[in-house]
Symmetry: C2
Subunit: 464 residues, 2 copies
């Protein structure tokens, strides 16, 4: 698709509309931008990195790219886990990290207007000064950018009650592949004026255009949450607990599950004294103004479902301590070897089936797999551990990773709940969508990007 | 675009794949399906009405339509207010009202799977038996269909807390213009697998395909709400109250506003004894488990903002009585003449400016305009009253209706918060979107419907 013009020619064209510091052409420096955090996804060699300061500079880059048929890969903080921000050969890496201004926070309209390079935590802090919160809280929230969150449709722990990134994006400014500026959506709480182009860009991983400004909805900061922790001797019992809590109409602000492998890894790391017979640990938080009655009811449901130990926090300190185990889960598992984090969501009712199936997959492929899950959403993160120096073990890990996605689809789920498709799951997306879905995806892609220069090969493969 | 084949030929082709009762070709009977409730929007003459029972029959209709290049207009209960479901000349009216089965309600996954012809109230009732609720509640909820709600992106009173239709649609089965069946979205709580095609169909008014099945999210039924009613002697004061309630972090389950014209009309109809000096009446409901403290705080904010009378309900009966005024608003205004309901949403902070501006428009165009508003969303419904037998008055009313949209755009709002575009607001949509937005809309439309047979002329005009 790309004609890959000579790099000097490309650099000259780019330089014509950019300040000196916005352009990186040194191959080694450029290569340092080539990967996001999807360790095993191969990345290409970029022709240049551009770090624009303004919308006009982004438009210039896209006009050059269109004229020269050069692929463009938009990037935020490159904390993504699916290869969506990784370079393709000969591309311009368009890093939006310098466009990091919070342009406005309005407490009456409850909106923030931000540039794409704003770090999630910086927005949270700024909103907090108005008693407001921007809820989506991916694990990487202290470093990841809002633009990246929008590109991947990021989730997080609190999404079980407050929803994912998509639900907070009201409107976008997007530079299209030809350099035109498209304004989508609105600043109002409601609006149905035309097709929902805003949502189309959320999760599109920069394959349709470059988000250069976002109008985001904020919420009032909820009261501090209290946490109950419950330990189960079987996955069936924990699945029963999650189902019972949901069916009883509770709306926890967090409902996290850790499987036996994860619990043991955390125990080994932090000496937490969790009993050997724990097959699953469930953490449930409630952040209503008076959480204790609801917390007690949830604790009771856990006991009824078969939990052998249930502890309800008395205060915020207890709650924070209980959550330590969850915070240590990933570091504890990553100590055991190289890791690949999967991201398969299943209907809540199939959570126990998913846990059991993953345990069988681990056994069948002779691989360690620890599972953390946003249980309230049915969004599991099986973490496949392997020795990257051992080719056979790496292959088994890859096979296990794929088997987990197959299991998710079989259980009526999806191959990605919140991490996105990138290159890592592109072939699996085609399997989830089916031929009609793939055809429609390609038609939509072509409607925005007829030349195929916008982050090519991500989400959907080019035709043929 | 359409070649308008002879009606007998079209009927024969349709009949080949439909049961006898599914096809209506009698011109008078067919004509009775030609309009939705956008009284002043002209409708064309349909060639036939089809009332399918199955997805396969819908696919057959679309294949015939594609082969013969005949336009197809999908319809639900035709309660829409923008002409989106009105006939175009020579079209097949595809009424989905017989596909009205609730296929599944799952209290653990909190989803319902329904056919498009299910009436909103029937779903609410069925969900209620599981302690669940399908929140979107347009005024027509007792007759309108879920398919129509999806087509228009319908809202309602409770959206201020619980969101609009779009937020409850997890996945769709859609018959594309060529008769292929597309499955979008998911059954899981979260998912980011590919482009958000689900959202693209919500609010697309049947211009991209025919929704034949929907997977919807449900919520636990909230506790009964208590209502506070406040009367203000100026729009400035009520605007201040709405802003203060929002800025203080309250999340009411309803926040409805009626202007002086509406209050007087309701008074005249129901003898409610509301004082003459009321320039605005605000109703605010809270449905938390213990609503009284929050209700008292909201009442206090209303007083501080300048309300001259504030009453907080003691119980559900009081609350219902307070809401009577709101329920009578539309009937009370409609007694005064023919009416056109506008649907302009503005940022919450501009609500008072919107009310004042509408009052000026009413004066300038010598027309009665009563405003009801979902104040918490900034979604106003100025209702323009006129004598349809008086040509000059009708013209003045039309000019006022347009001026209201212009004012909404000027205040940073949108021409439609929840009623949709149809034909009524098509030219205004182009104004809101701008040339780049219109171009992208046309490209998206063409990606799904290259022949332009899918509800042509709605939302966006054909090119050229």
């Amino acid at each position: 698709m790309s004609t890959h013009p000579d790099p000097a020619g490309l650099a000259a064209e780019l330089r014509a509309g950019l300040p000196e510091r916005a352009l990186v052409t040194d191959p080694d420096v450029a290569a340092s931008y080539a990967h996001d955090m999807a360790g095993l996804c191969p990345a290409g060699r970029p022709a240049a990195v551009v770090l624009p300061d303004t919308v006009e500079q982004v438009q210039h880059v896209m006009r050059v790219a269109t004229r020269l048929r050069v692929p463009v890969v938009p990037q935020g903080a490159r904390t993504g886990l699916s290869g969506g921000a990784s370079a393709v050969d000969g591309c311009i890496l368009l890093s939006l990290v310098r466009m990091n201004r919070i342009l406005e926070i309005d407490p009456v309209d409850r909106v923030a207007v931000v540039e794409p390079g704003v770090v999630n935590a910086d927005l949270s802090k700024a909103a907090g000064e108005f008693g407001l919160v921007y809820p989506p809280d991916p694990s990487s929230w202290e470093t990841c950018t809002i633009g990246g969150n929008i590109g991947t449709g990021a989730g997080g722990l609190c999404c079980v009650k407050y929803g994912v990134t998509a639900e907070y994006v009201l409107g976008l400014d997007v530079v299209l592949p030809d350099g035109e500026l498209l304004r989508t959506g609105r600043r109002t709480a409601k609006g149905v004026a035309g097709y929902d182009l805003t949502r189309l860009f959320v999760g599109a991983e920069g394959t349709l255009g470059v988000v250069v400004r976002a109008t985001l909805a904020l919420r009032p900061t909820p009261p501090p949450a209290l946490v109950v922790v419950a330990q189960f001797a079987s996955t069936t019992a924990v699945g029963r607990a999650v189902a019972a809590i949901t069916a009883a109409g509770h709306v926890p602000s967090l409902m996290e599950l850790m499987d036996a492998t994860t619990v043991r890894a955390v125990n080994d790391l932090a000496n937490m004294g969790l009993p050997e017979r724990t097959e699953a640990l469930l953490l449930v938080a409630v952040d209503t103004p008076d959480p204790r009655p609801e917390l007690a009811a949830i604790a009771e449901l856990c006991t009824e479902a078969g939990a052998f130990e249930v502890l309800a926090a008395d205060d915020a300190d207890d709650s924070a301590m209980f959550l330590t185990a969850r915070r240590l889960a990933l570091p504890a598992l990553e100590r055991l070897g190289s890791s690949m984090i999967d991201d398969v969501a299943v209907p809540r009712s199939r959570l126990a089936d998913m846990l059991d199936g993953v345990a069988r997959i681990a056994e069948r492929h002779d691989t360690v797999i620890g599972v953390c899950a946003h249980a309230g959403d049915g969004n599991t993160h099986p973490i496949v551990i392997f020795d990257a120096a051992d080719t056979a073990a790496t292959e088994r890990a890859g096979a296990a990773f794929d088997a987990i996605m197959a299991l998710g689809l079989e259980l009526g789920g999806t191959i990605t709940g919140e991490h996105g498709v990138g290159t890592l799951k592109r072939d699996w997306l085609a399997r989830e969508l089916g031929p009609v879905g793939v055809r429609v995806h390609r038609a939509v892609k072509a409607a925005f990007d007829p030349l195929g220069i916008m982050n090519p090969g991500k989400v959907v493969a080019a035709e043929g």
